[in-house]
């Protein structure tokens, strides 16, 4: 049985919460996506299947609305509001990100709906939280990540280049992660107490607490981190951790080598590549390999030998990178026990043998197009209550009869 089988979630369509609904739907919740009769604007978001626009062809829509059923309701119309209320009577969770004040004006806010369904869990996900003076301020993923801190920490050593917003609408994703964690926490409590509640998630706050040391360096010590190319923003400029390989692609060397075994492995690799004799700091790798303990950070800059060994390790990694492909660098480092990563594009990661072997590529039937499409798979594996894409994203109003028939108001 899926972990959330039997729970019904009503999601009021919005680009801001689509991913939260997917997280619950793919775990088995019966998520009913409510859109206006003209369709949610996100149906018009590119890219489209075969690059042919159409309201059932948005890949954005396909991606974020898996495993959901869809109904079209005009909440400005009294009859549809009654149908919506009837639906609420069967719901466990509401997910919404409506414009400020809209639900209250319609008589469909939490206080109205809990009268129909006292055990309802109502998760509101709004740009700045329900009570904010900025409740009506428009936002996008870009403006959220700029205002909330992530952008300050991302970019390049060269500060004449702008800070960078990380790709993929991660500001929305972060808010949706908190929305899902909140809904699950409230569901657990409801299983033991029988009671529902109202949850007010702020998207701005969600990204504010997702900046690692940027926030807590200020909170603890009133210090300000500075962005740096491809590595952690820090109080001072640190050394690069991205290296370009022979094939022009990049790797991340992570934490530079510090353990005796690391230095021995690096030296052996230089020998194998035939470049050890060209490496002037070879002696420091040998000294590093002969140490009893790893080099700790407090020694660097203090103990001259440890400092030289540490620097030689880093330079040796760069020399190796210049002589191998990025993928080979990644695999060979890891097989030698040195943590490193190839900088893949998303599709390169998707096609990698590791993720394929774990079953990450999931086929989803699109009967209307006569084809099966590979989708990204499970973020976690719960064998007793598995993740699954139960169906592709709903067409506009696809389940009106099926869903509204089950819950039709008495007089209808």
């Amino acid at each position: 049985m899926s972990a959330l089988a039997g729970f019904r979630v009503i999601e009021l369509a919005s680009e801001r919460i689509a991913f939260a609904g997917k997280l619950l739907a793919d775990m088995g919740a019966d998520v009913i996506l409510v859109e206006p009769p003209g369709g949610d604007p996100a149906r018009g978001y590119p890219p489209f299947a075969d690059d042919v626009p159409g309201r059932e062809r948005s890949l954005w829509w396909w991606c974020y609305h898996t495993s959901k059923r869809g109904v079209a309701l005009d909440l400005d119309h009294p009859g549809d509001r009654e149908r919506f209320r009837a639906l609420i009577a069967s719901a466990d969770v509401v997910l919404e990100s409506e414009p400020a004040g809209r639900l209250a004006a319609l008589g469909l806010d939490y206080d109205d709906l809990k009268a129909l369904r006292p055990e309802l869990i109502f998760v509101s996900v709004t740009p700045f939280g329900r009570g904010s003076a900025n409740a009506a301020t428009p936002v996008t993923d870009l403006t959220l990540l700029a205002g909330a801190g992530p952008a300050w920490s991302c970019g390049y050593d060269d500060h004449s280049l702008p800070p960078v917003r990380g790709g993929g609408n991660q500001g929305y994703h972060t808010a949706c992660h908190f929305a899902a964690m909140s809904a699950l926490t409230a569901l657990f409590w409801r299983l033991t107490s029988g009671r529902g509640q109202f949850i007010d998630v702020s998207m701005h706050q969600a990204s504010n607490v997702t900046t690692e040391a940027a926030s807590y360096s200020w909170l603890v010590a009133r210090q300000t981190v500075q962005r740096q190319t491809g590595r952690h923003a820090a109080l001072v400029m640190t050394q690069e951790t991205q290296m370009r390989c022979k094939d022009g692609r990049w790797v991340n060397t992570g934490v530079p080598p510090r353990a005796p075994g690391d230095y021995a492995a690096i030296l052996a690799w230089l020998v194998e590549l035939g470049v050890a004799d060209d490496f002037p700091e070879r002696v420091f790798l040998e000294l590093g390999a002969a140490r009893e303990k790893p080099i700790t950070y407090d020694l660097i800059g203090v103990d001259p030998e440890a400092t030289e060994i540490f620097a030689a390790g880093r330079e040796a990694m760069a020399l190796i990178a210049a002589n191998v492909s990025a993928y080979e660098f990644f695999i060979r480092c890891q097989r030698r026990g040195v943590p490193a990563g190839v900088i893949y594009s998303p599709e390169e990661a998707f096609e990698d043998e590791h993720f394929r072997a774990r079953g990450f590529q999931v086929p989803v039937e699109h009967a209307e197009l006569g084809r099966t499409v590979r989708y990204p798979g499970a973020p976690y594996k719960l064998p007793a209550s598995p993740w699954a894409i139960s169906r592709h994203a709903p067409k506009l109003g696809e389940h009106n009869d099926e869903v509204l028939g089950e819950t039709a108001p008495q007089e209808a």
Binding site: A3, L4, A42, P47, A49, D51, L59, C63, N134, P138, A146, S153, G155, V164, G167, G168, Q170, T174, A175, H177, A179, S182, L184, F188, F198, D200, V201, S202, N208, V209, T210, E212, A213, Y216, W218, L219, V220, A221, V225, N252, G254, V255, P339, G341, Y344, P346, E347, A349, F350, D352, H354, F355, A357, R358, V373, A378, P379, Y380, L382, P383
Partner: protein, 415 residues
């Protein structure tokens, strides 16, 4: 922070035997503790808990240094109990067994296989406590060709496409200036724990959840991956990535532009023609009327030129004053806020930074939770535990040991 004392805690009664560290694991159990779960964090007395590299690392509240004084460690471990167990000893293993017997969940983010080699793999855990929930979180998961590979947040981000997709054209990857996937891996771990606890509450059935941080990260590229599988269009292509621009839907202008002062910036996004018609009069320069900028598709076609024009307009302006003007006009924008600006001077983060009391550090502010719960508020009052701070409490309550017995175990090197 909401500290309405009379209200219940959502996860009261849930006990977690927790080996999590760093942020990818500790972040998950921080959430559980904030909602009232009893999280018992177990550390190695021999290595003084240094497996968690954040234990003694700054920022620091004052001039003192040491394993009890790491600011990041405190931030990620508020509200948890801390005990020490030397699992090289038989007595240490017995005590752990007793704690597991009384726990609902075991959590860890060691490299794959470490807990099993300590003698506490899933089969053993389930034998000790039938129906237990076990959630492991590591870079590549416990199965697959790379299961033995080791990661940190930046490596997870590199391999999963997150680093690649963050950057400007003709530049190296900018990546993420922090471990986004340590935070987010922790969020997925928290979800996995809660899902498994819900399943157990309803069926009595436990399970082992295998969470691979790289896999969770790979789910965060949905539309780009479908563009690949459906349209065979790769993200690695000319002009990409350019992540300050909008991938979807089409928006322009859409970027981060300079403002007056050193390293001051503002993000501006015009979602549609209406936003552009709000912005253009504020700019009030002839170029905004040029046909080349009349529609979103035209603006995207000449976006380099557009961005240069917008940047020239923003450059002499103060970022917060410009933010105010643009917001009054209804144009989406945000000053790129520095940490001090958003923590101390932003009304929309009020209540987000609770002050906790740490036994060695004193009063410290930490990251709170960006959600208000009407019936079961989160609470953060106690800082991270010092090494073995709750040995007497936990070993007394769960293992029935008297304080003198706990002291003897310390002498013997068991705790």
């Amino acid at each position: 922070m909401d500290q309405r004392a009379e209200l219940p805690a959502a996860l009261a009664g849930v006990r977690v035997c927790d080996f999590c560290g760093q942020l990818a694991g500790a972040g998950a159990t921080k959430w559980l503790a904030a909602f009232g779960a009893e999280v018992i964090r177990i550390e190695d007395p021999v290595r003084q808990g240094r497996w968690d590299i954040l234990r003694g690392v700054g920022p620091y509240v004052d001039e003192r240094r040491g394993i009890e004084l790491g600011g990041g460690f405190n931030n990620h471990n508020v509200g948890k109990l801390g005990i020490t167990l030397n699992l090289r000893t038989e007595r240490g293993k017995e005590l752990l067994t007793e704690i597991i017997r009384q726990s609902d969940c075991v959590t860890e983010n060691f490299a794959a296989g470490v807990l099993d080699r300590l003698g506490f793999g899933y089969d053993r855990l389930n034998a000790i406590r039938p129906g237990i929930v076990y959630v492991s979180n590591c870079g590549f998961g416990h199965a697959g060709p790379y299961a033995a590979f080791k990661t940190w947040g930046p490596i997870v981000q590199a391999v999963s496409g997150l680093t690649f997709s963050s950057g400007l054209p003709d530049q190296p990857p900018a990546g993420w200036g922090y471990s986004y996937m340590d935070h987010t891996g922790g969020y997925y771990m928290a979800m996995a724990i809660l899902l498994a606890l819900i399943h157990r509450q309803r069926t009595g059935e436990g399970q082992w959840v295998d969470l691979a941080c790289t896999e969770a990260a790979l789910t965060l590229h949905g539309p780009a991956l479908l563009d690949w599988t459906v349209n065979v269009r790769p993200s690695r292509r000319e002009g990409q990535p350019n992540s300050n621009r909008s991938q979807s839907p089409p928006m322009a202008p859409h970027g981060i532009y300079p403002c007056a002062g050193e390293d001051e910036w503002i993000a501006i996004a015009c979602r549609d023609e209406a936003d552009w018609r709000r912005l253009a009069p504020l700019i009030g320069q002839p170029w905004t009327d040029e046909l080349g900028f009349a529609t979103v598709s035209a603006r995207i076609a000449s976006e380099d030129e557009l961005d240069a024009c917008v940047a020239a307009w923003t450059a002499p302006q103060a970022k917060f004053a410009l933010q105010r003007r643009l917001r009054e006009a209804g144009v989406p924008c945000a000053a790129v806020q520095k940490p001090g600006e958003r923590v101390d001077h932003d009304p929309d983060t009020e209540g987000l930074w609770p002050t906790v009391t740490h036994s060695a550090m004193g009063q410290v502010r930490v990251d709170g939770i960006p959600a208000r719960f009407s019936e079961t508020p989160w609470r953060m009052t106690r800082g991270a535990a010092c090494l073995g701070e709750h040995n007497e409490d936990v070993l007394g309550r769960l293992c029935g040991l008297a304080p003198a017995e706990v002291a003897a175990l310390r002498e013997e090197g068991v705790i």
